[in-house]
């Protein structure tokens, strides 16, 4: 039942975004006569501190959020899998060198390094994505490396090798396909964590900038006006939570389906 609920919530947001596009909402229209108004017939979820429709901004925000999450996940996965395959396949000094680099990245807890990069690169959507990409590839690299190390010694790989298969062929035809399911599961979780990271950075003012809508930035504004308009923070907060929970639950379902055992 919970699984269905998560699909329902995800579906709801996707449809809402598409509907928002179709209805041509105007998330940046300022209405100074309706500052921080409660939900009413004009503004279904109320309006923010500049009289902009919270609903329209939420929908635009989730669109941006999806865009960032998908792009960053694809880029980091590509880089990470590439590095991990090389480290795991060749082993030895190459492996040690690459893993030493990942160790350095892992020495920065959580989102700290992304904050640092976003800070020096300056705010904005593209810089935000660059910052998240620079820091996000490490977990894929570690995961791929570990799997490759053990797959490298599987009989089918060694058989292909002794038959004279080239290194790229070995990697692409014989190792990568076996990594697919575990990477898909990892990617689902990373979608949620990139979304959280994007929202965190935007919350700190390092991500997407006004007037562009972003859930993190909206939450920050909402906190500022919490005393006068608690509905604002409540609406943004609940929306954000529903989406993150839905994606995480989706990841769990997928993991059970694909029967991937990860330590996470």
């Amino acid at each position: 039942m919970i699984k269905k609920l998560s699909l329902l919530i995800l579906g709801f947001w996707v449809i809402a975004v598409l509907a928002g596009r179709f209805l041509q909402l105007s998330p940046n229209d300022i209405d100074l006569n309706a500052i921080l108004s409660l939900p009413n017939s004009t503004y279904l979820l109320g309006s923010d501190d500049l009289g902009r429709s919270i609903l329209a901004r939420l929908l635009r925000g989730v669109e941006v959020s999806f865009l960032v999450a998908i792009t960053v996940t694809l880029v980091t996965m590509t880089i990470g899998v590439f590095v991990g395959l090389i480290a795991g396949f060749f082993g030895g000094k190459v492996d040690r060198f690459l893993m030493q680099i990942t160790d350095v990245f892992l020495a920065f807890p959580g989102i700290l390094l992304a904050i640092a990069f976003a800070a020096v690169l300056g705010p904005g959507l593209v810089n935000l994505m660059i910052a998240l990409c620079i820091t996000g590839w490490v977990s894929y690299a570690r995961l791929t490396r570990g799997q490759t190390l053990s797959l490298r010694n599987r009989q089918h790989v060694q058989a292909a090798e002794s038959l004279g298969a080239s290194v790229p062929r070995l990697i692409i035809k014989h190792i990568l396909p076996l990594l697919a399911s575990i990477l898909v599961v990892e990617a689902t979780y990373s979608l949620a964590s990139v979304m959280i990271a994007e929202a965190s950075l935007s919350f700190l003012g390092l991500g997407i900038q006004s007037p562009n809508a972003s859930w993190g930035a909206m939450l920050r504004d909402a906190v500022r006006y919490m005393l006068v308009a608690p509905h604002y923070v409540l609406i943004v907060g609940l929306s954000l939570m529903s989406l993150i929970l839905a994606i995480n639950l989706g990841g769990d379902t997928l993991r059970d389906k694909l029967d991937v055992r990860t330590e996470k």
């Binding site: 160790d103 020495a107 990069f117 939450l219």
Partner: protein, 305 residues
């Protein structure tokens, strides 16, 4: 031997961390001096700052200078207030430690009892509820939980101050924000590792000897189950430290996390650099410490190596 190896790799990581934080300032698009001082700055000021930061030297020399200054405890000074950065860290870091420590206590005092409870009720509905709730709770980000707690306890109920550090009660909400996530992870970890040992022979022996159930759990089972919990606590200290950046910003708690965000807003990059360095180094140190503690505490790890 193993610990020695661990310490060698520790220094390699420290070197990497220093290099990466050093390079940060060179990632600023365009001229960092220009970006930091703004367009209105005088030429003399710019020359001075470039000189102070050593930006006109070759990169290798700059890194050498950076390491040399750090080894002398000289972190440079804030560009805007000219305060030595070491002073800023000295005033801000204890506040962060205090917050992290209290969050840890909250996390432990909720997580461990709940985990024990779930393990004892394994398979029953109580276990299911605790597990589901803790799995979902651990996915909640601080920037969501913080404002929600603030809304409920400070704005609606008015029990606690909204933000700042004026009263002693100010620490409660930020500490809860950080502690909740930790407690969720600890609950799961305690449950899993306790369940693992509860079926062991020596537990059966202890029970057969007639030792009371609370004694079996606390003195026999929990003691063995504590090791994985120590590791998790060590690893979680990292996200706790990173979490302080957001939590401190939400609650205007004057710790190092807020200092970091403020320095970014003012484009005071030397301060930003130092904050990142200090947090990363604390994390690496905590990890090393946990690792050593773990090896010392568990004889099995020593024999295995």
């Amino acid at each position: 031997m193993d610990i020695l190896k661990r310490i060698t790799s520790f220094f390699a990581v420290i070197f990497g961390v220093l290099l990466l934080t050093f390079l940060l300032i060179h990632l600023v698009p365009g001229d960092p001096v220009e970006v930091m001082l703004g367009e209105s700055a005088s030429t003399a000021d710019r020359v001075q700052l470039r000189e102070d930061l050593g930006l006109n030297q070759p990169l290798i020399q700059q890194f050498g200078r950076y390491l040399h200054k750090l080894s002398l405890g000289d972190f440079g000074q804030s560009i805007h207030t000219k305060t030595p950065i070491i002073e800023l860290i000295k005033t801000r870091y204890p506040a962060t430690l205090k917050l992290a420590f209290l969050s840890l206590i909250i996390g432990l005092s909720i997580g461990i009892p709940l985990g024990i409870y779930a393990a004892l009720k394994a398979g029953k509905w109580q276990d299911l509820v605790v597990t589901i709730v803790s799995v979902r709770l651990s996915a909640i980000p601080a920037f969501w939980l913080g404002p929600m707690l603030m809304l409920i306890f400070a704005v609606w109920l008015g029990w606690l101050p909204v933000s700042g550090m004026e009263s002693n009660a100010s620490i409660v909400l930020p500490a809860l924000t950080l502690g909740f996530g930790l407690s969720a992870i600890l609950t799961r970890m305690t449950r899993t590792s306790l369940l693992e040992v509860l079926n062991d022979d020596y537990i059966r022996t202890a029970r057969a000897k007639g030792i009371s159930e609370p004694n079996v759990i606390i003195r026999h089972a929990l003691r063995a189950a504590l090791l994985p919990i120590i590791t998790i606590v060590g690893l979680q200290m990292g996200s706790l430290l990173a979490g302080t950046v957001i939590t401190e910003t939400i609650f205007s708690w004057d710790g190092i996390g807020r200092l970091l965000v403020e320095s970014i807003e003012k484009r005071d990059y030397p301060v930003t650099q130092t904050c990142v360095l200090v947090v990363a180094l604390s994390y690496v140190l905590v990890n090393l410490f946990t690792d050593i503690l773990y090896r010392l505490a568990d004889p099995r790890v020593k024999f295995a190596s």
